[in-house]
């Protein structure tokens, strides 16, 4: 009888988990403010850990949103609640890459969640990380 009992336990855990996931699903709307050049795209990447944010893991989502409208925002549904951080750059020329001058300095505007500022490099995870709670969330980033 042991296999049946185990199966039942697994089933019940799965059911619980499904219920919890439905209840705790989160969405995040990333809104852009202060945009000066209404052209190209905002190229954003969402991370859920410091390791990933620092380039040692996978991003949760990547998105591109046209920057020509009066309202520039991207809704990211289906997230787990937790801590996240965003890196974004304004792809002014639409080539999909962050422009760098010949000495390696960015030529296109960039920003981080929390409007965190960098110090001789990107803003730190600690400065850029924010909480996403169950339900709808909004993160406004000033760029340009």
């Amino acid at each position: 009888m042991r296999p049946i009992k185990t199966f039942a336990v697994v089933l019940s855990i799965a059911a619980l988990a499904a219920t919890a996931a439905a209840a705790q699903e989160a969405s995040l709307t990333v809104a852009f403010a202060g945009v000066k050049a209404h052209k190209g795209k905002m190229m954003g990447v969402l991370f859920d850990s410091q390791a990933a944010y620092d380039g040692k893991g996978e991003a949760v989502r990547a998105f591109a949103v046209a920057a020509d409208g009066a309202t520039i925002e991207e809704r990211l549904p289906g997230l787990k609640p937790g801590r996240y951080a965003i890196r974004v750059f304004h792809d002014l020329d639409g080539d999909g890459k962050m422009g760098l001058n010949p000495f390696g300095i960015p030529t296109e505007p960039f920003a981080f969640s929390n409007d965190a500022k960098g110090m001789m490099g990107p803003a730190s995870w600690d400065a850029a990380a924010f909480e996403v709670k169950a339900g709808d969330n909004v993160q406004t980033i000033h760029i340009d």
């Binding site: 422009g99 010949p102 960015p106 500022k117 110090m119 990107p122």
Partner: protein, 486 residues
């Protein structure tokens, strides 16, 4: 999101700060009492345009225009002060000469650095000789751009220049800051040094330094970008100034070499006299064509104009130091009222022979801020004006001219009551011979506690100023400027 070189800054940040350890940036300025410290005093507000008071003489007829100058004028804030003379906020001064009258107006360049520090009530941004402090933000070189080193007229704008970032564009009348100039979008934030070289035709050459590379800028007389090219150099030498003949660009690579990217900037350099000084001569017509000459080790900030002779010999003058101690410690100590007492730079002549051999002839003249007749830029027969330093005393007290063809050197001593700034040449309308015109420059009168404008006949410097005028403001000693004819 790759930021290659820019990110490398982060890895090195915090390293090698020992060079700044002798200097406490929070030292109370009030301890300083020597009269010359007025030359490094803070200015709190912009200076409204006002007429100068005539002390003696008359402004020469035909001398119409504006002497634009730039230099740091705010060093100290309640929470923290800068650690080096070169890191104060740039203030652009317009000394305007028109109809026999002169006026002065001065305005701070409105940089991100100044905004951040005003709001923080502390000098937090990293610089040439200042460490970063909490509250600093550095997402690109222009965040720490002090826009404090020189000012040039380009097209319809004034550009306040620094050496590690973009030109800051100003309105030439109101001196209001318009923002950093972007010469081409893909070259945004590339360095544009404070020492561009303008040919007699008006074409402008400049460089921007980055380790063992420079970007070579070429602008039309109207200020349009004609070309920008990256040139690799044999070493990562500190390059504040370069020079040029009509056909060559000349980079002098002193053995003060960058061994790591660090903050403050000057702490990443090491003095390697055993490496000597290299001089790289590049053809303007083909930047890949170059010759390299070897000279004994010396340190310098400023070079005079260069010229080529019929047999291919190239010559230029330079103000050279035995070592970089002024850049590392001397210019920082000035802010706390300490005169380093170190050796003064000496005027020297460099000769690059057609046979590939180079020669350095050092004079005994303690000299800085060499300038020339812009109509002879890059050509034989030019003359040099420079300030005169009294060894052991900080800053300059006189000016002198030099004709390297053997003409008589002339000098004028303003005396101990004046701190003398760079003088520039302004041509006499209708004249054409080298130095047929006037030398225009400024001093800070320590006794009167006021800045002054002085005009010399450029060929009769020993006679003293033909006209001197006094402003209502006492502005700290500035670095460089240019005369723009009205």
């Amino acid at each position: 999101m790759d930021r290659r070189s820019f990110l490398n800054l982060g890895a090195a940040a915090g390293a090698g700060l020992a060079a700044a350890a002798w200097f406490d940036p929070d030292r109370v300025y009030a301890q300083a009492t020597a009269p010359w410290t007025l030359g490094l005093a803070d200015v709190e507000d912009d200076v409204a345009p006002h007429k100068l008071r005539r002390l003696h003489g008359r402004l020469p007829a035909g001398l119409e225009g504006a002497l634009y100058r730039n230099g740091p004028a705010k060093f100290r804030r309640p929470g923290r002060s800068v650690g080096h003379w070169f890191d104060g906020d740039g203030m652009v001064r317009a000394w305007t000469l028109a109809g026999g009258e002169a006026t002065l107006a001065a305005r701070f360049v409105d940089t991100p650095k100044r905004r951040i520090e005003t709001s923080a009530k502390a000098c937090v941004m990293p610089g040439f000789g200042t460490k970063a402090a909490p509250g600093s933000q550095l997402e690109g070189p222009d965040d720490s751009n002090a826009a404090n080193t020189s000012v040039i007229r380009v097209g319809d704008a004034l550009w306040a220049l620094w050496e590690g970032g973009s030109p800051a564009a100003l309105d030439p009348v109101s001196l209001e800051t318009k923002g950093f100039a972007v010469l081409r979008q893909d070259l945004k934030s590339m360095p544009f040094s404070a020492h561009p070289r303008r040919e007699a035709s008006g074409r402008l050459w400049n460089f921007g330094w980055w380790r063992d590379q420079v970007v070579v800028w070429r602008l039309s007389p109207q200020g349009a970008l004609e070309d920008a090219r990256i040139v690799k150099l044999p070493r990562a030498s500190y390059i504040h100034d370069f020079t040029a003949t009509d056909r060559h660009l000349i980079f002098v690579l002193q053995p003060w070499v960058q061994e790591r990217m660090a903050m403050p900037f000057n702490s990443g350099f090491a003095w390697r006299p055993e490496q000597g000084t290299q001089v790289v001569v590049i053809d303007k017509a083909d930047l890949d064509k170059r010759r390299v000459f070897e000279l004994p080790p010396f340190f310098f900030f400023h070079l005079g104009d260069a010229w080529a002779e019929a047999d291919g010999t190239i010559r230029f003058d330079a103000c050279i130091d035995p070592d970089p101690s002024f850049a590392v410690t001397g210019a920082a100590k000035l802010l706390s009222g300490e005169a380093s007492g170190g050796p003064a730079p000496r005027l020297a002549l460099v000769t690059l022979g057609a046979d590939g051999k180079a020669r350095l002839e050092q004079t005994s003249d303690a000299a800085e801020f060499p300038r020339n007749d812009p109509r002879y830029a890059g050509l034989a027969g030019n003359m040099t004006v420079h300030t005169v330093i009294e060894p052991g005393r900080p800053l300059s007290r006189g000016i002198a001219t030099r004709d390297w063809r053997g003409g008589k050197a002339q000098a004028f001593d303003f005396g101990l009551d004046h701190l003398v700034e760079e003088f520039v040449f302004a041509p006499r309308p209708g004249g054409s011979a080298a130095f047929d015109g006037w030398l225009v420059g400024t001093t800070l009168n320590l006794k009167a506690k006021a800045s002054e404008l002085h005009v010399f006949d450029a060929r009769r410097v020993a006679d003293g100023p033909v006209c001197s005028l006094r402003a209502e403001a006492a502005l700290p000693v500035s670095f460089h400027g240019n005369f723009v004819r009205g």
